[in-house]
Symmetry: C2
Amino acid sequence: MLRTPICDLFRVEHPIISAPMAGSSGGELAAAVSAAGGLGMIGGSGPGPEWLREQIELVRRRTDRPFGVGFITSAPDTDQLMETALELRVPVIAHAFADPSPYIRAAADLDILTIVQVQSVELAREAANAGAAAIAAQGIEAGGHTGYTSGTLPLVPAVVDEVGDIPVVAAGGVADGRGLAAVLMLGAAGAWMGTRFVASEESISDPYAKEQIISHGADDFLLTRVYDIVNDAPFPEHVGERILRNRFTAAWHGREDEVSLRKAELARELAASLEAGDTSVRRVLAGNSAGMVRDILPAGEIVRRIVEDAEAILRSRPGELLG
Amino acid sequence: MLRTPICDLFRVEHPIISAPMAGSSGGELAAAVSAAGGLGMIGGSGPGPEWLREQIELVRRRTDRPFGVGFITSAPDTDQLMETALELRVPVIAHAFADPSPYIRAAADLDILTIVQVQSVELAREAANAGAAAIAAQGIEAGGHTGYTSGTLPLVPAVVDEVGDIPVVAAGGVADGRGLAAVLMLGAAGAWMGTRFVASEESISDPYAKEQIISHGADDFLLTRVYDIVNDAPFPEHVGERILRNRFTAAWHGREDEVSLRKAELARELAASLEAGDTSVRRVLAGNSAGMVRDILPAGEIVRRIVEDAEAILRSRPGELLG
Protein backbone atom coordinates (compact mmCIF):
# COMPACT_ATOMS: atom_id res chain seq x y z
CA MET A 1 0.00 0.00 0.00
CA LEU A 2 1.11 3.50 -0.83
CA ARG A 3 2.93 5.07 2.14
CA THR A 4 4.96 8.27 2.41
CA PRO A 5 6.53 10.23 5.29
CA ILE A 6 3.33 12.23 5.82
CA CYS A 7 1.47 9.01 6.62
CA ASP A 8 3.72 8.54 9.66
CA LEU A 9 3.90 12.23 10.49
CA PHE A 10 0.13 12.77 10.58
CA ARG A 11 -0.75 9.14 11.44
CA VAL A 12 -2.95 8.71 8.39
CA GLU A 13 -3.31 5.83 5.95
CA HIS A 14 -3.11 7.72 2.65
CA PRO A 15 -0.95 10.65 1.47
CA ILE A 16 -3.95 12.81 0.60
CA ILE A 17 -4.89 16.06 2.33
CA SER A 18 -8.15 17.82 1.55
CA ALA A 19 -7.51 21.57 1.34
CA PRO A 20 -9.00 23.72 4.14
CA MET A 21 -11.15 25.82 1.82
CA ALA A 22 -13.18 28.60 3.41
CA GLY A 23 -16.80 28.21 2.38
CA SER A 24 -16.31 24.65 1.17
CA SER A 25 -14.48 22.52 3.73
CA GLY A 26 -16.73 22.15 6.74
CA GLY A 27 -16.64 19.40 9.35
CA GLU A 28 -18.60 16.91 7.21
CA LEU A 29 -16.02 17.03 4.42
CA ALA A 30 -13.04 16.88 6.80
CA ALA A 31 -14.61 13.94 8.65
CA ALA A 32 -15.34 12.02 5.45
CA VAL A 33 -11.77 12.45 4.18
CA SER A 34 -10.24 11.49 7.53
CA ALA A 35 -12.56 8.52 7.97
CA ALA A 36 -11.42 7.28 4.54
CA GLY A 37 -7.78 7.46 5.63
CA GLY A 38 -6.75 10.86 4.30
CA LEU A 39 -6.15 14.01 6.32
CA GLY A 40 -9.39 16.00 6.27
CA MET A 41 -9.07 19.72 6.87
CA ILE A 42 -11.66 22.26 7.96
CA GLY A 43 -11.47 25.67 6.28
CA GLY A 44 -11.34 27.59 9.55
CA SER A 45 -11.58 31.19 8.37
CA GLY A 46 -14.83 32.99 7.76
CA PRO A 47 -17.85 32.24 9.94
CA GLY A 48 -16.08 32.72 13.27
CA PRO A 49 -15.03 30.78 16.38
CA GLU A 50 -18.43 29.35 17.28
CA TRP A 51 -18.89 27.82 13.85
CA LEU A 52 -15.32 26.50 13.97
CA ARG A 53 -15.95 24.87 17.36
CA GLU A 54 -19.08 23.17 16.00
CA GLN A 55 -17.23 21.84 12.95
CA ILE A 56 -14.38 20.46 15.05
CA GLU A 57 -16.86 18.76 17.36
CA LEU A 58 -18.73 17.41 14.35
CA VAL A 59 -15.54 15.78 13.00
CA ARG A 60 -14.90 14.16 16.39
CA ARG A 61 -18.41 12.72 16.49
CA ARG A 62 -17.86 11.17 13.04
CA THR A 63 -14.33 9.76 13.36
CA ASP A 64 -11.51 9.31 15.86
CA ARG A 65 -8.89 9.71 13.14
CA PRO A 66 -6.56 12.72 12.81
CA PHE A 67 -7.86 15.83 11.04
CA GLY A 68 -6.92 19.47 10.81
CA VAL A 69 -7.98 23.09 10.51
CA GLY A 70 -6.48 25.56 8.05
CA PHE A 71 -6.53 29.34 8.16
CA ILE A 72 -6.28 32.32 5.86
CA THR A 73 -3.67 33.58 8.28
CA SER A 74 -3.73 37.09 6.82
CA ALA A 75 -7.38 37.51 7.86
CA PRO A 76 -7.96 39.76 10.87
CA ASP A 77 -9.61 37.16 13.14
CA THR A 78 -6.87 34.53 12.96
CA ASP A 79 -5.73 35.02 16.59
CA GLN A 80 -9.20 34.35 17.88
CA LEU A 81 -9.75 31.32 15.63
CA MET A 82 -6.35 29.90 16.57
CA GLU A 83 -7.40 30.07 20.22
CA THR A 84 -10.35 27.81 19.46
CA ALA A 85 -8.21 25.37 17.46
CA LEU A 86 -5.58 25.23 20.21
CA GLU A 87 -8.12 24.93 23.01
CA LEU A 88 -9.76 21.99 21.23
CA ARG A 89 -6.35 20.41 20.52
CA VAL A 90 -6.91 19.99 16.79
CA PRO A 91 -4.13 17.58 15.70
CA VAL A 92 -2.96 19.54 12.64
CA ILE A 93 -3.18 23.26 11.82
CA ALA A 94 -2.39 24.87 8.45
CA HIS A 95 -1.44 28.47 7.68
CA ALA A 96 -1.20 30.47 4.47
CA PHE A 97 -0.71 34.03 3.19
CA ALA A 98 0.96 35.51 6.31
CA ASP A 99 3.95 34.86 8.57
CA PRO A 100 3.08 31.66 10.50
CA SER A 101 5.99 31.82 13.01
CA PRO A 102 4.11 32.79 16.20
CA TYR A 103 1.32 30.32 15.47
CA ILE A 104 3.76 27.48 14.81
CA ARG A 105 5.39 28.02 18.22
CA ALA A 106 2.05 28.19 20.04
CA ALA A 107 0.91 24.97 18.36
CA ALA A 108 4.20 23.16 18.99
CA ASP A 109 3.86 23.86 22.72
CA LEU A 110 0.74 21.67 22.60
CA ASP A 111 2.30 19.03 20.29
CA ILE A 112 0.13 20.24 17.40
CA LEU A 113 1.73 19.94 13.95
CA THR A 114 1.71 22.85 11.51
CA ILE A 115 1.54 22.68 7.73
CA VAL A 116 2.49 25.91 5.97
CA GLN A 117 1.19 26.55 2.49
CA VAL A 118 3.64 28.49 0.31
CA GLN A 119 3.64 29.87 -3.22
CA SER A 120 7.39 30.26 -3.74
CA VAL A 121 10.74 28.78 -2.76
CA GLU A 122 11.44 31.85 -0.63
CA LEU A 123 8.26 31.36 1.42
CA ALA A 124 9.13 27.65 1.75
CA ARG A 125 12.53 28.56 3.20
CA GLU A 126 10.89 30.92 5.72
CA ALA A 127 8.34 28.24 6.70
CA ALA A 128 11.09 25.68 7.18
CA ASN A 129 13.05 28.09 9.36
CA ALA A 130 9.92 28.85 11.37
CA GLY A 131 9.50 25.16 12.22
CA ALA A 132 6.80 23.89 9.85
CA ALA A 133 6.20 20.13 10.19
CA ALA A 134 5.26 19.96 6.51
CA ILE A 135 5.04 22.34 3.58
CA ALA A 136 2.32 22.54 0.95
CA ALA A 137 3.93 23.92 -2.23
CA GLN A 138 1.10 25.58 -4.10
CA GLY A 139 1.32 26.24 -7.82
CA ILE A 140 -0.34 28.86 -9.96
CA GLU A 141 -2.90 26.32 -11.27
CA ALA A 142 -4.48 25.89 -7.85
CA GLY A 143 -8.05 26.94 -7.28
CA GLY A 144 -9.07 29.81 -5.07
CA HIS A 145 -6.27 31.88 -3.65
CA THR A 146 -2.79 31.15 -4.93
CA GLY A 147 0.38 32.87 -6.07
CA TYR A 148 1.55 34.08 -9.47
CA THR A 149 5.05 32.65 -9.30
CA SER A 150 5.26 29.10 -10.61
CA GLY A 151 3.35 26.02 -11.70
CA THR A 152 3.31 23.08 -9.28
CA LEU A 153 5.49 20.88 -11.50
CA PRO A 154 8.70 22.95 -11.18
CA LEU A 155 7.82 24.42 -7.76
CA VAL A 156 7.65 21.11 -5.89
CA PRO A 157 11.16 19.81 -6.70
CA ALA A 158 12.63 23.29 -6.09
CA VAL A 159 10.96 23.38 -2.66
CA VAL A 160 12.03 19.78 -1.92
CA ASP A 161 15.62 20.75 -2.71
CA GLU A 162 15.32 23.82 -0.48
CA VAL A 163 13.79 22.37 2.69
CA GLY A 164 15.64 19.07 3.00
CA ASP A 165 13.95 16.55 5.29
CA ILE A 166 10.68 18.43 5.81
CA PRO A 167 7.92 16.63 3.88
CA VAL A 168 6.49 18.62 0.98
CA VAL A 169 3.02 18.05 -0.40
CA ALA A 170 1.98 19.28 -3.83
CA ALA A 171 -0.92 21.73 -3.89
CA GLY A 172 -2.54 22.73 -7.18
CA GLY A 173 -3.23 20.68 -10.28
CA VAL A 174 -3.86 17.26 -8.74
CA ALA A 175 -7.35 15.77 -8.97
CA ASP A 176 -6.79 12.11 -9.80
CA GLY A 177 -4.45 9.16 -9.42
CA ARG A 178 -2.28 10.30 -12.33
CA GLY A 179 -1.56 13.58 -10.59
CA LEU A 180 -0.81 11.92 -7.26
CA ALA A 181 1.57 9.42 -8.92
CA ALA A 182 3.24 12.31 -10.77
CA VAL A 183 3.92 14.50 -7.75
CA LEU A 184 5.30 11.50 -5.84
CA MET A 185 7.90 11.15 -8.63
CA LEU A 186 8.87 14.80 -8.06
CA GLY A 187 9.74 13.96 -4.46
CA ALA A 188 6.49 15.16 -2.90
CA ALA A 189 5.20 13.17 0.07
CA GLY A 190 1.59 13.55 -1.01
CA ALA A 191 -1.02 15.80 -2.56
CA TRP A 192 -3.13 18.60 -1.11
CA MET A 193 -6.33 18.72 -3.14
CA GLY A 194 -9.03 21.33 -3.24
CA THR A 195 -11.07 21.37 -6.43
CA ARG A 196 -11.70 17.62 -6.46
CA PHE A 197 -13.17 17.85 -2.92
CA VAL A 198 -15.32 20.91 -3.68
CA ALA A 199 -17.18 18.56 -6.02
CA SER A 200 -17.92 16.12 -3.21
CA GLU A 201 -21.25 15.41 -1.59
CA GLU A 202 -19.97 16.61 1.78
CA SER A 203 -18.50 19.98 0.75
CA ILE A 204 -20.54 22.98 1.85
CA SER A 205 -20.07 24.73 -1.50
CA ASP A 206 -23.47 25.38 -3.00
CA PRO A 207 -24.86 23.06 -5.70
CA TYR A 208 -24.39 25.77 -8.35
CA ALA A 209 -20.63 25.91 -7.74
CA LYS A 210 -20.32 22.13 -7.78
CA GLU A 211 -22.23 21.93 -11.07
CA GLN A 212 -20.05 24.60 -12.65
CA ILE A 213 -16.88 22.74 -11.69
CA ILE A 214 -17.95 19.40 -13.12
CA SER A 215 -19.25 20.99 -16.32
CA HIS A 216 -16.23 23.19 -17.13
CA GLY A 217 -12.73 22.36 -18.31
CA ALA A 218 -9.13 23.27 -17.54
CA ASP A 219 -9.29 26.31 -19.86
CA ASP A 220 -12.25 27.94 -18.15
CA PHE A 221 -10.59 29.22 -14.98
CA LEU A 222 -8.42 32.30 -14.65
CA LEU A 223 -6.21 33.81 -11.99
CA THR A 224 -7.40 37.29 -11.13
CA ARG A 225 -7.52 39.91 -8.38
CA VAL A 226 -10.68 41.70 -9.46
CA TYR A 227 -13.02 40.28 -6.81
CA ASP A 228 -10.37 40.61 -4.09
CA ILE A 229 -9.97 44.30 -4.90
CA VAL A 230 -13.70 44.94 -4.85
CA ASN A 231 -14.20 42.91 -1.68
CA ASP A 232 -11.17 44.31 0.18
CA ALA A 233 -10.16 40.67 0.71
CA PRO A 234 -7.34 40.13 3.23
CA PHE A 235 -4.67 38.78 0.88
CA PRO A 236 -1.17 40.04 0.12
CA GLU A 237 -0.42 41.50 -3.32
CA HIS A 238 1.46 38.41 -4.57
CA VAL A 239 -1.75 36.40 -4.32
CA GLY A 240 -4.75 36.22 -6.65
CA GLU A 241 -7.59 33.75 -6.91
CA ARG A 242 -8.34 31.23 -9.62
CA ILE A 243 -12.03 31.29 -10.47
CA LEU A 244 -14.40 30.43 -13.28
CA ARG A 245 -14.40 33.05 -16.04
CA ASN A 246 -17.67 34.94 -15.86
CA ARG A 247 -19.28 38.19 -16.93
CA PHE A 248 -17.54 40.16 -14.18
CA THR A 249 -14.04 38.88 -15.01
CA ALA A 250 -14.72 39.42 -18.73
CA ALA A 251 -15.52 43.05 -17.98
CA TRP A 252 -12.81 43.83 -15.41
CA HIS A 253 -9.87 41.41 -15.47
CA GLY A 254 -6.87 43.31 -16.85
CA ARG A 255 -8.34 46.65 -15.72
CA GLU A 256 -7.31 46.36 -12.06
CA ASP A 257 -6.35 50.02 -11.69
CA GLU A 258 -9.83 51.08 -12.76
CA VAL A 259 -11.38 48.43 -10.47
CA SER A 260 -9.48 49.95 -7.54
CA LEU A 261 -10.75 53.42 -8.37
CA ARG A 262 -14.37 52.30 -8.80
CA LYS A 263 -14.33 49.78 -5.97
CA ALA A 264 -17.32 51.06 -3.97
CA GLU A 265 -19.53 51.41 -7.03
CA LEU A 266 -18.60 47.94 -8.34
CA ALA A 267 -19.19 46.39 -4.91
CA ARG A 268 -22.71 47.84 -4.88
CA GLU A 269 -23.40 46.64 -8.44
CA LEU A 270 -22.11 43.16 -7.65
CA ALA A 271 -24.15 42.91 -4.48
CA ALA A 272 -27.30 43.98 -6.34
CA SER A 273 -26.72 41.45 -9.15
CA LEU A 274 -26.06 38.62 -6.74
CA GLU A 275 -29.08 39.60 -4.65
CA ALA A 276 -31.18 39.42 -7.82
CA GLY A 277 -29.92 35.87 -8.45
CA ASP A 278 -27.69 36.74 -11.41
CA THR A 279 -25.32 33.74 -11.64
CA SER A 280 -23.29 35.35 -14.44
CA VAL A 281 -21.29 37.30 -11.84
CA ARG A 282 -21.10 34.53 -9.22
CA ARG A 283 -17.59 33.76 -8.04
CA VAL A 284 -16.86 30.04 -8.48
CA LEU A 285 -13.45 29.12 -7.10
CA ALA A 286 -11.60 26.20 -8.68
CA GLY A 287 -8.26 25.24 -10.18
CA ASN A 288 -7.38 24.02 -13.66
CA SER A 289 -7.71 20.46 -12.36
CA ALA A 290 -11.48 21.01 -12.73
CA GLY A 291 -10.81 19.65 -16.23
CA MET A 292 -10.48 16.20 -14.67
CA VAL A 293 -13.47 16.50 -12.32
CA ARG A 294 -16.64 15.23 -13.95
CA ASP A 295 -18.81 14.04 -11.07
CA ILE A 296 -19.86 14.87 -7.55
CA LEU A 297 -18.87 11.95 -5.35
CA PRO A 298 -18.77 11.10 -1.67
CA ALA A 299 -15.41 12.40 -0.36
CA GLY A 300 -14.43 8.98 0.97
CA GLU A 301 -14.98 7.50 -2.47
CA ILE A 302 -12.76 10.23 -3.95
CA VAL A 303 -9.94 9.30 -1.55
CA ARG A 304 -10.31 5.58 -2.32
CA ARG A 305 -10.38 6.04 -6.09
CA ILE A 306 -7.37 8.36 -6.20
CA VAL A 307 -5.28 6.05 -4.03
CA GLU A 308 -6.36 3.00 -6.03
CA ASP A 309 -5.59 4.69 -9.36
CA ALA A 310 -2.24 6.05 -8.17
CA GLU A 311 -1.24 2.62 -6.88
CA ALA A 312 -2.25 0.97 -10.15
CA ILE A 313 -0.24 3.52 -12.16
CA LEU A 314 2.82 3.14 -9.91
CA ARG A 315 2.62 -0.64 -10.22
CA SER A 316 2.16 -0.86 -13.97
CA ARG A 317 3.43 2.21 -15.81
CA PRO A 318 7.14 2.14 -14.89
CA GLY A 319 7.33 -1.46 -16.10
CA GLU A 320 5.58 -0.61 -19.37
CA LEU A 321 7.93 2.32 -19.93
CA LEU A 322 11.14 0.54 -18.97
CA GLY A 323 10.27 -2.58 -20.99
CA MET B 1 15.43 1.27 -21.31
CA LEU B 2 12.80 4.00 -21.18
CA ARG B 3 10.62 3.90 -24.30
CA THR B 4 7.38 5.70 -25.16
CA PRO B 5 5.24 6.06 -28.30
CA ILE B 6 7.22 9.13 -29.41
CA CYS B 7 10.36 7.00 -29.60
CA ASP B 8 8.72 4.92 -32.33
CA LEU B 9 6.93 7.87 -33.93
CA PHE B 10 10.05 10.01 -34.34
CA ARG B 11 12.51 7.08 -34.44
CA VAL B 12 14.53 8.33 -31.48
CA GLU B 13 16.02 6.54 -28.51
CA HIS B 14 14.81 8.81 -25.69
CA PRO B 15 11.50 10.63 -25.04
CA ILE B 16 13.18 14.03 -24.82
CA ILE B 17 12.62 16.89 -27.25
CA SER B 18 14.69 20.06 -27.05
CA ALA B 19 12.42 23.05 -27.61
CA PRO B 20 12.91 24.99 -30.86
CA MET B 21 13.77 28.28 -29.16
CA ALA B 22 14.39 31.25 -31.43
CA GLY B 23 17.74 32.78 -30.51
CA SER B 24 18.84 29.72 -28.56
CA SER B 25 18.31 26.51 -30.52
CA GLY B 26 20.67 26.55 -33.48
CA GLY B 27 21.95 23.57 -35.42
CA GLU B 28 24.70 22.76 -32.92
CA LEU B 29 22.20 22.30 -30.07
CA ALA B 30 19.74 20.32 -32.21
CA ALA B 31 22.55 18.09 -33.48
CA ALA B 32 23.92 17.43 -29.97
CA VAL B 33 20.48 16.47 -28.64
CA SER B 34 19.72 14.23 -31.62
CA ALA B 35 23.15 12.61 -31.54
CA ALA B 36 22.51 11.75 -27.86
CA GLY B 37 19.25 10.03 -28.79
CA GLY B 38 16.73 12.82 -28.15
CA LEU B 39 14.87 14.82 -30.78
CA GLY B 40 16.85 18.02 -31.33
CA MET B 41 14.91 20.97 -32.67
CA ILE B 42 16.14 24.10 -34.44
CA GLY B 43 14.34 27.34 -33.51
CA GLY B 44 13.52 28.23 -37.09
CA SER B 45 12.06 31.72 -36.73
CA GLY B 46 14.13 34.87 -36.68
CA PRO B 47 17.24 35.13 -38.80
CA GLY B 48 15.62 34.04 -42.08
CA PRO B 49 15.72 31.19 -44.63
CA GLU B 50 19.44 31.30 -45.40
CA TRP B 51 20.36 30.92 -41.74
CA LEU B 52 17.81 28.13 -41.38
CA ARG B 53 19.26 26.29 -44.38
CA GLU B 54 22.75 26.51 -42.86
CA GLN B 55 21.55 25.18 -39.49
CA ILE B 56 19.73 22.25 -41.09
CA GLU B 57 22.83 21.40 -43.12
CA LEU B 58 24.94 21.72 -39.99
CA VAL B 59 22.78 19.16 -38.15
CA ARG B 60 23.09 16.74 -41.08
CA ARG B 61 26.89 17.05 -41.06
CA ARG B 62 26.94 16.19 -37.33
CA THR B 63 24.44 13.32 -37.18
CA ASP B 64 22.25 11.14 -39.36
CA ARG B 65 19.60 10.87 -36.65
CA PRO B 66 16.14 12.50 -36.84
CA PHE B 67 15.80 16.16 -35.85
CA GLY B 68 13.32 18.94 -36.35
CA VAL B 69 12.62 22.61 -36.91
CA GLY B 70 10.06 24.62 -34.95
CA PHE B 71 8.40 27.88 -35.87
CA ILE B 72 6.70 30.84 -34.26
CA THR B 73 3.93 30.24 -36.74
CA SER B 74 2.32 33.61 -36.07
CA ALA B 75 5.45 35.41 -37.36
CA PRO B 76 5.08 36.96 -40.83
CA ASP B 77 7.85 34.98 -42.56
CA THR B 78 6.59 31.49 -41.68
CA ASP B 79 5.55 30.62 -45.26
CA GLN B 80 9.02 31.34 -46.57
CA LEU B 81 10.74 29.45 -43.74
CA MET B 82 8.39 26.48 -44.18
CA GLU B 83 9.45 26.32 -47.84
CA THR B 84 13.05 25.86 -46.77
CA ALA B 85 12.14 23.21 -44.18
CA LEU B 86 10.01 21.31 -46.69
CA GLU B 87 12.55 21.60 -49.50
CA LEU B 88 15.24 20.16 -47.21
CA ARG B 89 12.89 17.40 -46.00
CA VAL B 90 13.38 18.09 -42.30
CA PRO B 91 11.95 14.98 -40.58
CA VAL B 92 9.85 16.83 -37.95
CA ILE B 93 8.32 20.31 -37.96
CA ALA B 94 6.73 22.08 -34.98
CA HIS B 95 4.22 24.93 -34.95
CA ALA B 96 2.94 27.26 -32.23
CA PHE B 97 0.83 30.38 -31.72
CA ALA B 98 -1.17 30.25 -34.98
CA ASP B 99 -3.43 27.85 -36.89
CA PRO B 100 -1.11 25.08 -38.15
CA SER B 101 -3.64 23.36 -40.46
CA PRO B 102 -2.25 24.35 -43.89
CA TYR B 103 1.31 23.62 -42.78
CA ILE B 104 0.38 20.20 -41.41
CA ARG B 105 -1.13 19.22 -44.77
CA ALA B 106 1.87 20.48 -46.76
CA ALA B 107 4.24 18.56 -44.48
CA ALA B 108 2.17 15.37 -44.54
CA ASP B 109 2.35 15.32 -48.36
CA LEU B 110 6.11 14.86 -47.94
CA ASP B 111 5.79 12.38 -45.02
CA ILE B 112 7.03 15.01 -42.59
CA LEU B 113 5.56 14.76 -39.07
CA THR B 114 4.15 17.83 -37.32
CA ILE B 115 4.18 18.57 -33.59
CA VAL B 116 1.78 21.32 -32.53
CA GLN B 117 2.49 23.20 -29.33
CA VAL B 118 -0.68 24.24 -27.50
CA GLN B 119 -1.49 26.20 -24.34
CA SER B 120 -5.03 24.96 -23.73
CA VAL B 121 -7.30 21.96 -24.19
CA GLU B 122 -9.20 23.84 -26.90
CA LEU B 123 -6.05 24.41 -28.95
CA ALA B 124 -5.13 20.74 -28.44
CA ARG B 125 -8.50 19.68 -29.87
CA GLU B 126 -7.97 21.93 -32.90
CA ALA B 127 -4.45 20.55 -33.42
CA ALA B 128 -5.71 16.97 -33.21
CA ASN B 129 -8.44 17.71 -35.74
CA ALA B 130 -5.88 19.35 -38.02
CA GLY B 131 -3.80 16.16 -38.10
CA ALA B 132 -0.96 16.79 -35.65
CA ALA B 133 1.28 13.73 -35.20
CA ALA B 134 2.04 14.79 -31.62
CA ILE B 135 1.01 17.58 -29.30
CA ALA B 136 3.22 19.56 -26.92
CA ALA B 137 0.99 20.70 -24.02
CA GLN B 138 2.65 23.82 -22.70
CA GLY B 139 1.98 25.09 -19.20
CA ILE B 140 2.16 28.56 -17.76
CA GLU B 141 5.51 27.80 -16.06
CA ALA B 142 7.29 27.40 -19.40
CA GLY B 143 10.03 29.80 -20.37
CA GLY B 144 9.76 32.28 -23.19
CA HIS B 145 6.40 32.50 -24.88
CA THR B 146 3.57 30.57 -23.29
CA GLY B 147 -0.10 30.88 -22.37
CA TYR B 148 -1.86 32.14 -19.26
CA THR B 149 -4.33 29.27 -18.93
CA SER B 150 -2.97 26.38 -16.88
CA GLY B 151 0.07 24.83 -15.28
CA THR B 152 1.55 21.77 -16.99
CA LEU B 153 0.48 19.35 -14.23
CA PRO B 154 -3.30 19.64 -14.83
CA LEU B 155 -2.99 20.56 -18.54
CA VAL B 156 -1.25 17.37 -19.65
CA PRO B 157 -3.84 14.84 -18.40
CA ALA B 158 -6.68 17.06 -19.66
CA VAL B 159 -5.05 17.15 -23.12
CA VAL B 160 -4.35 13.40 -23.01
CA ASP B 161 -8.03 12.78 -22.26
CA GLU B 162 -9.03 15.09 -25.12
CA VAL B 163 -6.84 13.86 -27.99
CA GLY B 164 -6.99 10.11 -27.48
CA ASP B 165 -4.23 8.20 -29.25
CA ILE B 166 -2.14 11.17 -30.34
CA PRO B 167 1.03 11.27 -28.21
CA VAL B 168 1.25 14.26 -25.89
CA VAL B 169 4.54 15.64 -24.61
CA ALA B 170 4.72 17.91 -21.58
CA ALA B 171 6.21 21.36 -22.18
CA GLY B 172 7.03 23.65 -19.28
CA GLY B 173 8.41 22.85 -15.85
CA VAL B 174 10.59 19.83 -16.64
CA ALA B 175 14.36 20.18 -16.29
CA ASP B 176 15.48 16.94 -14.67
CA GLY B 177 14.75 13.24 -14.28
CA ARG B 178 12.16 13.87 -11.58
CA GLY B 179 10.12 16.03 -13.93
CA LEU B 180 10.38 13.52 -16.79
CA ALA B 181 9.31 10.64 -14.51
CA ALA B 182 6.41 12.79 -13.23
CA VAL B 183 4.98 13.73 -16.61
CA LEU B 184 5.20 10.10 -17.76
CA MET B 185 2.89 9.23 -14.83
CA LEU B 186 0.42 11.83 -16.13
CA GLY B 187 0.20 9.93 -19.40
CA ALA B 188 2.63 12.11 -21.36
CA ALA B 189 4.83 10.33 -23.89
CA GLY B 190 7.83 12.52 -23.12
CA ALA B 191 9.05 15.97 -22.23
CA TRP B 192 9.75 19.03 -24.35
CA MET B 193 12.43 21.02 -22.54
CA GLY B 194 13.63 24.53 -23.14
CA THR B 195 15.28 26.17 -20.15
CA ARG B 196 17.54 23.19 -19.36
CA PHE B 197 18.92 23.31 -22.93
CA VAL B 198 19.41 27.08 -22.97
CA ALA B 199 22.01 26.39 -20.27
CA SER B 200 23.92 24.00 -22.54
CA GLU B 201 27.29 24.55 -24.15
CA GLU B 202 25.78 24.30 -27.62
CA SER B 203 22.90 26.76 -27.25
CA ILE B 204 23.41 30.04 -29.08
CA SER B 205 22.02 32.06 -26.16
CA ASP B 206 24.68 34.49 -25.02
CA PRO B 207 26.83 33.68 -21.95
CA TYR B 208 25.06 36.39 -19.92
CA ALA B 209 21.65 34.68 -20.35
CA LYS B 210 23.10 31.27 -19.48
CA GLU B 211 24.73 32.67 -16.33
CA GLN B 212 21.50 34.34 -15.25
CA ILE B 213 19.56 31.09 -15.62
CA ILE B 214 21.95 28.98 -13.56
CA SER B 215 22.23 31.64 -10.85
CA HIS B 216 18.51 32.35 -10.38
CA GLY B 217 15.70 30.31 -8.88
CA ALA B 218 12.11 29.32 -9.63
CA ASP B 219 10.77 32.52 -8.02
CA ASP B 220 12.76 34.91 -10.20
CA PHE B 221 10.86 34.59 -13.47
CA LEU B 222 7.56 36.20 -14.35
CA LEU B 223 5.04 35.95 -17.15
CA THR B 224 4.58 39.31 -18.81
CA ARG B 225 3.64 41.04 -22.05
CA VAL B 226 5.60 44.25 -21.53
CA TYR B 227 8.45 43.51 -23.94
CA ASP B 228 6.08 42.02 -26.52
CA ILE B 229 4.01 45.19 -26.48
CA VAL B 230 7.05 47.44 -26.87
CA ASN B 231 8.58 45.22 -29.56
CA ASP B 232 5.34 44.66 -31.52
CA ALA B 233 6.11 40.95 -31.21
CA PRO B 234 3.98 38.66 -33.41
CA PHE B 235 2.08 36.79 -30.69
CA PRO B 236 -1.64 36.45 -30.04
CA GLU B 237 -3.15 38.12 -26.96
CA HIS B 238 -3.49 34.86 -24.98
CA VAL B 239 0.29 34.52 -24.95
CA GLY B 240 2.93 36.22 -22.81
CA GLU B 241 6.57 35.41 -22.17
CA ARG B 242 8.22 34.15 -19.02
CA ILE B 243 11.44 36.05 -18.39
CA LEU B 244 13.79 36.99 -15.58
CA ARG B 245 12.47 39.85 -13.45
CA ASN B 246 14.55 42.92 -14.21
CA ARG B 247 14.46 46.71 -13.94
CA PHE B 248 12.16 47.01 -16.96
CA THR B 249 9.57 44.51 -15.68
CA ALA B 250 9.75 46.08 -12.21
CA ALA B 251 8.85 49.42 -13.76
CA TRP B 252 6.23 48.32 -16.28
CA HIS B 253 4.70 44.92 -15.56
CA GLY B 254 1.09 45.50 -14.46
CA ARG B 255 0.94 48.82 -16.35
CA GLU B 256 0.35 47.32 -19.81
CA ASP B 257 -2.14 49.98 -20.91
CA GLU B 258 0.43 52.69 -20.28
CA VAL B 259 3.12 50.62 -22.01
CA SER B 260 0.88 50.43 -25.10
CA LEU B 261 0.41 54.19 -25.10
CA ARG B 262 4.12 54.95 -24.65
CA LYS B 263 5.38 52.14 -26.86
CA ALA B 264 7.55 54.17 -29.24
CA GLU B 265 9.20 56.14 -26.45
CA LEU B 266 9.87 52.98 -24.38
CA ALA B 267 11.28 51.19 -27.42
CA ARG B 268 13.77 54.02 -27.94
CA GLU B 269 14.75 54.04 -24.25
CA LEU B 270 15.20 50.28 -24.19
CA ALA B 271 17.29 50.32 -27.36
CA ALA B 272 19.52 53.06 -25.95
CA SER B 273 20.00 51.22 -22.63
CA LEU B 274 20.82 47.94 -24.33
CA GLU B 275 23.17 49.70 -26.75
CA ALA B 276 24.96 51.19 -23.72
CA GLY B 277 25.40 47.67 -22.28
CA ASP B 278 22.87 48.04 -19.47
CA THR B 279 22.12 44.44 -18.46
CA SER B 280 19.42 45.51 -15.97
CA VAL B 281 16.90 45.73 -18.82
CA ARG B 282 18.13 42.68 -20.76
CA ARG B 283 15.41 40.17 -21.57
CA VAL B 284 16.41 36.72 -20.32
CA LEU B 285 13.86 34.08 -21.28
CA ALA B 286 13.45 31.05 -19.03
CA GLY B 287 10.84 29.04 -17.19
CA ASN B 288 10.42 28.34 -13.48
CA SER B 289 12.40 25.12 -14.01
CA ALA B 290 15.48 27.38 -13.95
CA GLY B 291 15.33 26.66 -10.23
CA MET B 292 16.66 23.18 -10.98
CA VAL B 293 19.31 24.28 -13.49
CA ARG B 294 22.63 24.98 -11.80
CA ASP B 295 25.25 24.30 -14.46
CA ILE B 296 25.99 24.74 -18.14
CA LEU B 297 26.54 21.27 -19.60
CA PRO B 298 27.03 19.71 -23.02
CA ALA B 299 23.52 19.05 -24.40
CA GLY B 300 24.25 15.35 -24.92
CA GLU B 301 25.24 15.06 -21.28
CA ILE B 302 21.94 16.72 -20.29
CA VAL B 303 19.98 14.14 -22.28
CA ARG B 304 21.94 11.25 -20.77
CA ARG B 305 21.62 12.49 -17.18
CA ILE B 306 17.89 13.17 -17.40
CA VAL B 307 17.18 9.76 -18.92
CA GLU B 308 19.41 8.04 -16.38
CA ASP B 309 17.79 9.86 -13.46
CA ALA B 310 14.25 9.27 -14.72
CA GLU B 311 14.99 5.58 -15.20
CA ALA B 312 16.46 5.30 -11.70
CA ILE B 313 13.40 7.03 -10.18
CA LEU B 314 10.97 4.85 -12.14
CA ARG B 315 12.84 1.72 -11.05
CA SER B 316 13.15 2.54 -7.36
CA ARG B 317 10.54 5.03 -6.16
CA PRO B 318 7.32 3.11 -6.84
CA GLY B 319 8.71 0.15 -4.90
CA GLU B 320 9.70 2.37 -1.98
CA LEU B 321 6.26 3.99 -1.94
CA LEU B 322 4.26 0.79 -2.32
CA GLY B 323 6.36 -1.08 0.24
